[in-house]
Amino acid sequence: MMKKSLKPFRDIIALALGHLTVFKHVFKRPVTLEYPEKKLPLNDNFRGEHALVVDNEGKLLCTACGTCQRVCPSFETIEIEKEKNESGKFYPKNYTIDLNKCIFCGNCVQYCPFGAIIMTKEYELADEKKSALKLDINTLKKNYSDSIIKKTVKSKR
């Protein structure tokens, strides 16, 4: 009987404590960001849009060996056209990555024996056309030079 009569008081105390805890948050700074205007900084590990690495002479490191195709979990995502140059070495004449099929697992970057492919920090990939998500060799080269510019700008700051 005694317990029953005490119950309303305990409930009131519990509710008051709960409200007090919620009320404490009024004075705290917000943890959210207004997204399109402000963006969170990304670290170097981030897995975004792909890029093909170009060396100082403007040549691709890629030798069209096809390891990236073999480790990719979705089929027909990476397509490579292989060709031989004058010195007898293979190079990719065309290299396409279909982002419609890509799951951004990063296997192609991890298992590339030459370190010829990287992932940039670009993640806003929405477009009006599906075909815009099919990256050909020129876009991939451009992605790399863009990512280098971004990196140097960032380090200057």
């Binding site: 305990r10 409930d11 105390i13 519990a14 509710l15 404590l17 709960g18 007090l20 805890t21 919620v22 948050h25 943890v31 969170l40 990304l42 670290n43 590990n45 981030f46 897995r47 390891t67 073999r70 480790v71 990719c72 979990p73 799951i103 951004f104 697992c105 990063g106 296997n107 991890q110 298992y111 992932m119």
Partner: protein, 380 residues
């Protein structure tokens, strides 16, 4: 069906079904007379997908089985392949696996806590839990490169080592987290609205949990102390398979397994909150070990040329939603012959008809939410 019985559909597109679950209910006034869960709306053929991919190609897909706790699925699959191919995992990578998995469990329970209370009409806890979960996710993003689909484990090791800087950040997080958990408990545990809606509602008996193969926190809430992390078991069922107990370095760590008594919705809440505290304890132990010890992380085997000898193996992992088992059968080639998944949520959905019989319709979401069901894990 009699005249005064009403047959209605809940879902498949319903905000409280945590995905796409359809429930066919028969109501008599406000009382649920029968309930039939219809699953399969999120079926992606995860098991069949393995058969035409190599072992490495299947690894990133595994994370998508339960998107809130990707590390557990990844570990279950890696562990099975490592045991089949007899690949050794170094002590340091085992500790990092435990560390990341416990952080993942914490983030998964945090999301459950927020959505469970949102199901019952409380909005503030959702924002608080998401705020804390965000810290864990950004730590994961820093470590692995993505927030939910990590693809961090490889056969025999990890992709890359953790830095001391990162460990310090995790250490800071572990220091502030107990205060946050205390905040949740202040808001929720004694709240009269919460307790009247959860205490003695949706009671799971010991017998029915064992009959329906319910595992994880739902089982521990009934008082049965079964946890695959612990090597010493105290099972109600003597025939319980003791294979794979105390995996990784869990036997070396000091932790207790929280249980409750009655098995109602409130006890399931209580067990999960206690489990969060256990997670923090395990994380801090792992950080201490990792800071004082070094070791090799990257395994020497060639992942993309891996061929697994003939055989079969089942690896069991204590995931946040019950035991997650991965069965791998190999025929000696580069592709798995068969992969089968057993996930905790599937069994939690199967018990719904029994659990919801003769309960009130407004209690439906409170009971369903307390079971912590994730639909992609049910359908796979």
């Amino acid at each position: 069906m009699t005249k005064n019985r009403l047959k209605i559909n809940i879902g498949p597109q319903h905000p409280s079904t945590h995905g796409v679950l359809r429930l066919v209910l028969e109501l008599e006034g406000e009382i649920i007379k029968s309930c039939e869960p219809v699953i399969g709306y999120l079926h992606r053929g995860m098991e069949k997908m393995a058969e035409n991919r190599t072992y490495l190609q299947y690894l990133p897909i595994v994370d998508r089985i339960d998107y809130l706790s990707g590390f557990f699925n990844s570990f279950a699959y890696c562990n099975a392949v490592e045991n089949l191919a007899q690949i050794e995992v170094s002590k340091r990578s085992q500790y990092i696996r435990v560390l990341t998995m416990e952080m993942n469990r914490l983030s998964s329970h945090l999301l459950w806590l927020g959505t469970f209370l949102l199901d019952m009409g409380a909005t503030s806890p959702l924002f608080y839990t998401f705020r804390d979960r965000e810290v864990i996710l950004s730590l994961f993003e820093e470590l692995t490169g993505q927030r939910l689909m990590y693809n961090y484990y490889t056969f025999g090791g990890l992709r890359h080592d953790v830095s001391d800087d990162w460990l310090d950040k995790v250490g800071d997080f572990v220091k502030i987290m107990p205060k946050k958990i205390q905040d949740y408990e202040d808001i929720i545990t004694n709240n009269p609205i919460f307790t009247t809606r959860t205490k003695n509602i949706g009671v799971l008996s010991k017998n029915s949990t064992l009959q329906y193969s319910i595992t994880g926190p739902n089982l521990r809430a009934t008082g049965i102390r079964v946890d695959y992390r612990n090597s010493k078991q105290e099972t109600g069922n003597k025939e319980h398979n003791s294979h794979g107990l105390g995996y990784l370095v869990y036997p070396e760590l000091d932790f207790e397994i929280p249980t409750a008594k009655t098995g109602d919705s409130f006890d399931r809440y209580k067990v999960r909150v206690e489990e969060m505290k256990v997670c923090l304890k395990l994380i801090s132990q792992c950080i201490d070990w990792l800071k004082s010890n070094t070791g090799e992380i990257i395994s020497p085997i060639k992942q993309h040329l891996l061929k697994v000898p003939e055989g079969e193996f089942i690896s069991n992992v204590e995931a946040p939603r019950g035991v997650c088992s991965c069965y791998v059968k190999s025929d000696g080639s580069g592709n798995p012959y068969r992969v089968k998944w057993r996930t905790g949520s599937f069994y939690a959905v199967q018990i719904l008809p029994k659990l919801l019989e003769n309960t009130f319709y407004p209690d439906l979401m409170a009971i369903f939410g307390s079971l912590d069901v994730i639909l992609p894990e049910v359908d796979r």
